[in-house]
Symmetry: C2
Subunit: 399 residues, 2 copies
Amino acid sequence: MADIDPTRFLADLNALRKIGEFKTGVHRPTYTPDDMESRRWLMDRMREVGLDAEMDGIGNVLGRHAGGGPRLLVGSHIETQNEAGWLDGALGVLAGLALARAGLAVDVVAFADEEGHYGSFLGSRSMIGEVSEAEIDAAAHNQDGKPLRQALREAGLEGLPRLRLDPARYRGFLELHIEQGTQLENAGLRSGVVTGIVGIRYFRIIVVGQQDHTGGTTMAERKDAAVAAMRVLHLIDERFPMHVDERTVWTCGRIVLEPNAPHVIAGRAEMIFQFRDISEAVMERLEALLHRIVAEVDRRDRCSITVERLGHSAPALADPVLHAGLVEAAKKRANGQWQPMPSGAIHDAQHVAKIMPMAMLFTPSIGGISHHWAEDTKEEDLVLALHILADAAEDCLSR
Amino acid sequence: MADIDPTRFLADLNALRKIGEFKTGVHRPTYTPDDMESRRWLMDRMREVGLDAEMDGIGNVLGRHAGGGPRLLVGSHIETQNEAGWLDGALGVLAGLALARAGLAVDVVAFADEEGHYGSFLGSRSMIGEVSEAEIDAAAHNQDGKPLRQALREAGLEGLPRLRLDPARYRGFLELHIEQGTQLENAGLRSGVVTGIVGIRYFRIIVVGQQDHTGGTTMAERKDAAVAAMRVLHLIDERFPMHVDERTVWTCGRIVLEPNAPHVIAGRAEMIFQFRDISEAVMERLEALLHRIVAEVDRRDRCSITVERLGHSAPALADPVLHAGLVEAAKKRANGQWQPMPSGAIHDAQHVAKIMPMAMLFTPSIGGISHHWAEDTKEEDLVLALHILADAAEDCLSR
């Protein structure tokens, strides 16, 4: 068995936590000085365990294992959301480092900007060949609008080549991540073996009514966009439950009325609506249902209502062999204390899965807290996850 | 019959329109230099027609008729909403001036800040004794926060006494105003005799749920504030129609989700909801219904929902005698081209009605446009309204 060093693994996590420390969490947005320091720190650690470390032109850090034979890719990301947690991303990268330190034939990767400060999974999508130079030209910071090119230049990354993953080099990709939910905690479990990453489809629903004075306009005359928007959401609330699977989720997180004034009938409403499921078939069914609901309210109401798909990502199922390896390891290390489960959040693994087998392991999030500095996981659960991951990697590499 | 001069009336309206002109409308927010210039312009016009003009410590302009005997108070306001119409308010004030010019025993009034830049009907409420010095101390501009005291000082009003209306001096108050709706236009009518001004009750509904990641949180775990808010609005939409009168209106013009992000379950929702009716009994019934709806969703849903009344105004019915005078005049001047109707908007007349008889007359708004520079009314309708108002005033004063 691989000689895993959990003490050193926890020490690495705590050392990385110091870079950009914020309360009990960290603040390391992509390409900031603290983020770049953490990438250089990671390269030093990779070299200490014998990996050939390289940072590429978009900030990805890849540590290559020197030996021949079958290899695994293990990792995640190390930048964070603003004032966020110490484990989100870092856990998966430093778990990979711990496996490499134990002598397992793994390359370790830290994908850049998983957290989307400048784009959507720029690092992992770049490594599978999905990010064009034109996309980089057009990208900018999601809050302050700083061009990505400028950020890359300031980070010293301009002119560096962008690395591509060679699927022939790997048996697959493993990512350990915090759950970012309360499924495991609520079930009293210590580990989750991911069956797949859900797909997302999200939509903009626009209602056009007529802005009017609330006093001077009778109910019969009104074209109240807020009312029509509410009717769409009501039909979704009423009908979606009959057409979903057990773990489907659907959400309207954003509603914007115009002018959104207490004494003015809304002339326009915009909603962003999304659903997530592990099955493309379920998502096809729901998209058709959404269109029927919008068409029905559009026909009945005096407002005009349209829906457009803003984006989507396909579900990614875990590779059966890698998944089975994690399941066997979980049974051995934590029998009765783990469960199979889908990932409701998107991860780099979803993109890597387009070119090689993928599997993921979840460790509980205390109170489900995520993207907040208070994010945390019990040390014994972190160590358990590391052992499960190492066992599964060893099993895969030994076949 | 009084010797009404419609040409001079229209000329006055067009002259006043030049002060703070904006496109085809005007921009004269309360206490701005343009607003103060318009008040001084009005005092000059009042003096020309023999009125004793005075501006008071909150900006009200009152032109007193010199003779004895029965008198009427006629007027409205002359400041405007931002980039708003040329007739809203100005019409009622300059109609009063036209009546005085024709020799009718009227005092003319322009109440300050009807449009609420600094408060709620500051001028008319001050003239009936409802505005304390403490309220003035606390008031500030609704957008930039400038203290009312500072605005009064800069406008040169500091230290002036505030005028009070003496109900014993008047047979009543007449206000001519644009409709600010499309009732008259849609019915093909040219004038509306107001039966009363509706009351308003408005409420803040607060939903407290739990902010969560849309991917990691199952439907069974969620406390989605947007869903609970929608359920409240749905029940209002479903049940209010069974409990209202013909002209009741109810509106949710403002919805604010927190954090209002596409991929985050809303942790909080705030709605401003209001209804208006001419009958206190109807409003009592609706307020009780609203509380039942909120209590029902609060009980059924996992979110916590509360409602609080933010404000209200009581309905004000037109005085039967003054109203009958306007009806008779409308029959004579525009038989078959007028209707009785409630005012869905609030006007200074609602406050003046607390101390003396009140009646109002509406003239059509083209396309119902209000609080926008494109607001307009046909000249022949303006002149018709002036004649109806003059006939009614003459009838009242001759009794």
